[in-house]
Amino acid sequence: MALTGRAPGGPDAPPGTLGSRLPVPATTAGDALAEAVVVPNTLWTPADPAAYGGVPVDEAPSLALKRYDASGEGRRNDGRWGALDIVPTKADYVLDLIRMNSLWPLLSGLACCAFEMMSMSTSRHDIDRWGMFPFRASPRQADVLIVAGTLTTKMAEPLVRLWEEMPEPKWCVAMGDCTCSGGRYKRSYSTIQGIDRVLPVDVYVPGCPPRPEGLIYGMMKLQQLVRQRRGHWPERNVGPTVPEGI
């Protein structure tokens, strides 16, 4: 066994010292320990908020109606005698109610959490009861991306492509510790430490894995968020900018 050539310490170290923890097997000749190779973190940067649409949030073109509403001009009577081309109504609020009560998640199970996600949609925890249809297989027909399971660097590119293929409006739910912050793979060399580095997340559901009830609670929070227009999508014209190097 290539375990000879150890630094002092090991099992024979005097009790009570840390010496027995420190030594590592020598990898180079002459018992010299190799220098640690430090790789600077150039790949992963948090997504730039200004990148959503390329302009500051307040100037986003998709918020024109909202700004117009806030300015109070629309509440003048100009619309009555044709001084305006558009008449703002409360139709958006009705649309939000419709969106909130027919969420169609994308079937995107990546790892362990996928089974709790499927458990949420089957007989025991039947999410049909709250207006969430169990899973579309095509991103073109889905409006919620539930990222269930560890996102690895290799899977990041396909997942971001899926996200960009989904039509607006769309929302993203991070399910599980791995997707929220890295979780138990915080120290792994091949995972992404939280999917908010590559996707704009609306709801985080922690747990390893969260129970289906936890995910249902998260989805209900998402419904609340859709109704109150607090998600990411009103500020967003196009999909998020992907950091270089994925």
Binding site: G10, R21, S108, A111, C112, E116, T122, R124, T152, L159
Partner: protein, 404 residues
Amino acid sequence: MTTPTRPSLDDPALAIPVEHAGIFEPIPVPRTEREREFYDLKDGELLLNMGPHHPSTHGVLRVVLKINGEQIVDVDPVLGYLHRGAEKICENADYHQVISQVDPLEYISALFNEWGAVLSFEKLLDVEVPRRAEYIRVLAGELNRVASHMLFLGFYALDLGGITPILWSFAERDEIMEALAALTGQKLLFNYFRIGGVNGDLNHEFLSRVGDWMSRAGTHLEDGMTLLNENEIFVRRTRGIGVIDRETALRMCVSGANLRASGVPFDLRRAHPYSVYPELDFDIPTRAEGDSLARYLLRFDEVKQSLRIIDQCLHEMPDGPVMAKLPRLLRPRPGRAFSSVEAPRGQYSTYVVSDGTDQPFRMRIHDASFLHLEILGLLMPGTLVQDIMVVMSSLDPVMGGVDK
């Protein structure tokens, strides 16, 4: 008036940037001889990409199919979409922490991951496990096996286009998982086995849930068998598809239910007995056909045997402690140990090298699903595109175990 010129692909301004090459170019530059052979298309052949996001690939597996019309010419599984570096993490965790780190590998049957790790550590440390702990391990493990097989039955039907069975099988699986959650405290990744025993003794909620479920399990299993076993469409799509004969199965290191469906009665619980399996009475079901239908039906037989084992464990549960007396900080002497358990997907092996510290020097984890994916390259050529789902799903791979 000038004629507009058509854009040329040779124009450097229109060239695909290097960083997008993987997105827009379906055919990568071949790096090995095998890739050169695979990506060299003959007349009438084309490449079809399946995954990594595909509802039927059981996780994030990507399979590149080379097809000629409707016929599959060659198959190239692309792995690594769920590589999480578990072995490296295990080498940086101490022996107790490793148990929780191996949990998410084969995540449908997490108890067997722990069992493999714990068995090898116990060999390394020369620990004797109390008999009650062994019985509890067998009981919990067999419950997990039933839950895993039940999931397979539902997913297999789902991959073939049937929705109803998965609703039934998830109802069954959730009941077992709730019982195990009462025992272990966690629902999917249990983190229950310990070096020298288990984390906690049986409790009232677990026993009442298991007793309740056992009173109905046999009936539910019979109900599940009535769903598809005589369904003409199902049988026609699976019988004679993906036949693994006995010699091929042994040569390609197939194990578990897939091997027994090819007529080899090899089960680690009998062949290399561990825990208290020698004391328990159960059979090793086999089937001779070796096709997808046989693999599907064999899981039902295995569930029946598991129910027998659970029944015996509940009746013959001995009294006593559930943990051996061990120091909190474990430092096994330098050496190596190997252990294998019969997981629902086949042989799950753990090989651990100790250097005398409280962390493993090397931890090698071997999962059967990896080898089962390899056999796709032998089974698929010559079959039709619709059969890839049938065959791959009947092998029941779990990508967490394949990619680690």
